[in-house]
């Protein structure tokens, strides 16, 4: 089974039926897999804070949400995380492409990578880092934990986890 299938199987097994995305090359396969599942409504958003608003509404409407985004978006969404998701105590799994780690070809991506874990720690956001494919074995438990405690939870997936950048 491909890692994309495994990830989306875990989302579906945890009743996640509303997913918003701001795309990333590394997460393209997951997004394709989500589009192939009729039980999951996929609503692409134009910016990650907008996406978190959609997720907040979907959750209040009875659908378990998830957001797929890049780690650069942590810089975009600090206020939304603090004053919407955390303040109103809402669950939100964030499946994040962790750009700027080992095997990264684009130097600028390193700049936000340096801040990513520090910002998440400052926000008291539970954070899991997938570096090898077996790390994803915990995804099912991480999702259960997220909807148990009604908090945003970050799942950082780095280039090594995705097998590098192909030709780069």
């Amino acid at each position: 089974m491909s890692i994309n299938t495994k990830i989306v199987d875990d989302l579906v097994a945890n009743d996640i039926s509303f997913v918003t995305t701001v795309p990333c090359k590394q997460l393209a396969g997951v997004i394709d897999e989500i589009d192939a599942r009729p039980g999951v409504l996929h609503v692409p958003s134009n910016k990650e804070d907008e996406g978190m608003g959609l997720c907040a509404g979907a959750w209040m409407g009875g659908k378990r949400p998830a957001i797929i985004m890049q780690n650069t978006a942590i810089g975009v969404t600090i206020n939304t995380l603090a004053t919407l998701i955390q303040y109103y105590r809402m669950p939100l799994p964030m499946l994040i492409s962790y750009r700027g780690e080992l095997r990264e070809p684009v130097a600028c991506q390193v700049e936000m990578a340096l801040h990513t874990k520090a910002l998440l720690a400052q926000m008291n956001i539970p954070t899991y880092h997938f570096h090898t494919q077996s790390d994803a074995d915990e995804l099912n438990e991480i999702l259960k934990y997220t909807f148990m405690c009604n908090k945003p939870v970050a799942i950082l997936t780095d280039a090594n986890f995705w097998g590098g950048y192909g030709d780069q």
Binding site: G57, N79, L84, R89
Partner: protein, 184 residues
């Protein structure tokens, strides 16, 4: 008419509907005029009223009204293409456009100058956009509720504020009673 007068005018229409209300004075005014468990008051996060309401409309069948402002829509312009391209016919976006950032002291917005939010919404692909004068807001809102088509209403009004108390209700209480109303 100013925003608080519009809200007073449409409060009887809003009462039985799920309403997501914009941050700052709009929420404080609605809370003072007619607090209902069916109102979700935004206490933070400027710009996301339309997104929260739209997510809610996509997730369940009841009608949802997002009350937004011109300044807040300008802050989250990306919302309009998302709404246009994922139509939910149980969704109404009411933009109260007073041409100013009311909650911060009525500084002018670009919507009060050369930018038409009505035209922007249409250009983004929203199919049912109506612009009305403030006094006709209730009529337009009732028509939108009676129809089964997603509607964007841009209500043009004067800027100006009244004195209102802040909302001291706990956010989790606001959210919990709102979710119970959604499920009821």
């Amino acid at each position: 008419m100013i925003r608080s007068e519009i809200l007073k005018d449409i409060a009887p229409i809003l009462r039985d509907q799920l309403v997501v209300c914009n941050i700052g004075l709009p929420s404080q005014e609605l809370h003072m005029i007619d607090d209902q468990p069916t109102n979700f008051y935004m206490l933070g996060t400027m710009g996301l009223s339309s997104s929260i309401g739209f997510g809610l409309a996509l997730a369940q069948d009841k009608k949802v009204i997002s009350i937004d402002g011109d300044g807040s829509v300008l802050t989250n312009f990306g919302t309009l293409p998302t709404i246009a391209n994922n139509v939910a016919d149980n969704y109404i976006l009411l933009i109260i456009d007073n041409g100013s950032y009311g909650s911060t002291g009525d500084q002018p917005t670009y919507a009060g100058k050369k930018t038409s939010l009505t035209e922007v919404a249409r250009a983004c692909g929203c199919e049912n956009v109506v612009e009305v004068a403030a006094k006709d807001t209730g009529k337009a809102l009732q028509a939108a509720l009676d129809g089964d088509q997603m509607t964007i209403i841009v209500s043009k009004c004067e800027s100006g504020n009244i004195k209102v108390p802040v909302i001291t209700m706990d956010p989790v209480v606001i959210r919990d009673r709102f979710m119970k109303s959604v499920q009821a």
